[in-house]
Symmetry: C2
Subunit: 202 residues, 2 copies
């Protein structure tokens, strides 16, 4: 984090806040913009305006809207990076890669805490729900649709969403046993073929 | 709150409340018992005690704990009846029957409203979440486990739960398109094989 500071140092005599403060100002502005406009209509330029900083400074700290969003929710990973890794191998075996990667992220306690909090906030406020839905559709399932069979790619990606969201609910939020405590590979063995068929099956 | 009064009947001369009032008294007692004890530990006898009525009276209005529970949540259907219909045909084709029945219930606006409210309450309070989880596991997925391949029936039923819960979330709560507006039979075509494989597949 220190490495990301564009500017020196907290103890200078000037009036501008230091790197950590600037980053926090940008994140606070982003939270307000995402809540007010949703994910799709928010821009890095708009966040810069609300934060009262130069847009280049926002780009200095965050190389994309999804990175600001992940930071504003304090996610321990950047979902776009995770999904890029899953997509990199192409359609063959994507079901297995997706489920295994998904579980390796969510099975870590830190991700689980922030993820469960996210799901609950999704359901507790209309604007929160809309923002998170737009983010997930655009940055995660929109990208999956690109590898789905093309005749009904969006429908297929939404079906993947249904199984993945359900897995989050059953394993991490509601904690239905024995699924909640099951070995990740046992879950992969059952769920990966579902994802593969939704994306590329007949 | 007035409904929790076990005793009379504002304007009548007799001391016992009439049928509708008694039913309301029982339901109010049931809500309080389910919230305090969860689903599994609540009994019809305990509900009668809290309501200040004879247990036979509870049995007169409700022929099972699941019926009181459905009434206490104002569900438009009794889940136990629905699942009994799905199970009646045995393991062959159960995936298709389950998904088609499930959609026919949830696609009705009344069920959707109460169902979505239920899901939100599930996530908003710890005791509500526990009660609903116990109900769903015992009365719905516990019964499905009875038709699942026997080596890991509970795990299989929990996987079914994950896909069904995810379908509720994606189609009715978060409303991910085009799944939210898709024709029910298109959803059946994709999701039924998933349910069938989770329950009875290799």
């Amino acid at each position: 984090v220190a490495a990301e500071e564009p500017e020196p140092a907290p103890r200078r005599r000037g009036r501008r806040p230091g790197g950590e403060d600037l980053r926090a100002v940008i994140i606070a502005a982003a939270r307000s913009e995402f809540a007010a406009r949703g994910y799709d209509a928010t821009t890095l330029r708009g966040i810069a305006r609300v934060a009262g900083v130069d847009p280049r400074l926002v780009h200095h700290y965050f190389d994309g809207k999804d990175a600001v969003f992940a930071a504003s929710l304090e996610l321990p990973v950047r979902p776009g990076d995770v999904i890029a890794g899953v997509l990199a191998g192409g359609p063959d075996g994507i079901g297995e890669r997706l489920v295994r990667t998904f579980l390796s992220v969510w099975d870590s306690p830190a991700a689980q805490d922030s993820g469960v909090a996210l799901v609950k906030s999704l359901l507790s406020s209309e604007s929160g729900a809309r923002t998170i839905r737009e983010f997930v559709v655009r940055e995660i399932f929109g990208r999956l649709a690109a590898v789905a069979s093309s005749d009904d790619a969006e429908f297929r990606a939404a079906l993947v969403a249904s199984q993945v969201v359900g897995l989050i609910m059953a394993r991490y939020v509601v904690r239905i046993e024995p699924l909640a405590s099951a070995d990740a590979e046992d879950v992969v063995a059952f769920v990966a073929p579902t994802i593969q068929r939704y994306l590329t099956g007949d």
